[in-house]
Symmetry: C2
Subunit: 106 residues, 2 copies
C-alpha cells in the first residue's frame, strides 16, 4: 500500500492526464495494463495509483520510484515508451517528479 511520508527514500511522480470523458475508462484500462505488465517489473518501481476524476475529464497517476535515475531509465525503455505513446495519443499528460515536502493530518 502506498504511504505518503516525508523523508521516505522515494521520488514521487504525479502525472495528470486530460482526457475526453468518454475515453476516461479506456485510458484507465490502458494505464492499468501497462503498469501491471511492464512498469511494475522495471528496476526501482515502488508503486502506482491510478485515479479517476469525478468530472470524467482527468486521470492521475500517483507513483513512487526508488530514484529519479530509475524513473528516467524506465522512460528510456522502448517497451515503456510504446505504452506511454498509446496513452499520450488519447490524452495530454503532464508528468512531474516531486519530493514530499510536508504532511498534515486531522
Amino acid at each position: 500500500m502506498t504511504e505518503i511520508t516525508t523523508g521516505a527514500d522515494v521520488v514521487t511522480l504525479i502525472n495528470v492526464f486530460t482526457v475526453a470523458p468518454e475515453r476516461q475508462q479506456e485510458l484507465l484500462d490502458l494505464l492499468d495494463r501497462a503498469t501491471e505488465e511492464v512498469m511494475r517489473h522495471r528496476p526501482g518501481f515502488v508503486s502506482a495509483n491510478l485515479h479517476a476524476s469525478l468530472d470524467g475529464g482527468h486521470v492521475a497517476n500517483y507513483a513512487q520510484w526508488e530514484s529519479e535515475a530509475a524513473f528516467q531509465a524506465m522512460l528510456a525503455d522502448p517497451e515503456c515508451r510504446e505504452h506511454m505513446s498509446a496513452a499520450t495519443a488519447m490524452a495530454d499528460a503532464v508528468p512531474v517528479l516531486y519530493r514530499v515536502s510536508s504532511t498534515h493530518n486531522r
Copy 2:
C-alpha cells in the same frame, strides 16, 4: 499518515500549482500555514500532503476529504477562500477531485 487504497471512504484532491522556481518555497510555506491553521480544522478534512517538484516549477497537494460536499463547503468558507486567493495570486492552480481507481505495488 496518508494511505492510498481503493474503496476508502474519501475523495482525493490533487491540486497542481505552476510557480516560478524562485517562489516555490514561499508557496510551500503559505500552503503549509493555511493547511495547518485553517483547512485542517474544517469538517471532513482527512489529510493533506504538499509536494515540491524537483525542477522547482511546481507544487502539488495530495489531499483527502471525507466527501465532495465537505470539500465544497471548505471552498465556500471565506477564511479558506482568502488563503487560496493568496496562493493563486502567486501560482496557477489546477484542482481536481478524484476517486482511487486502482493500485499497483512492486
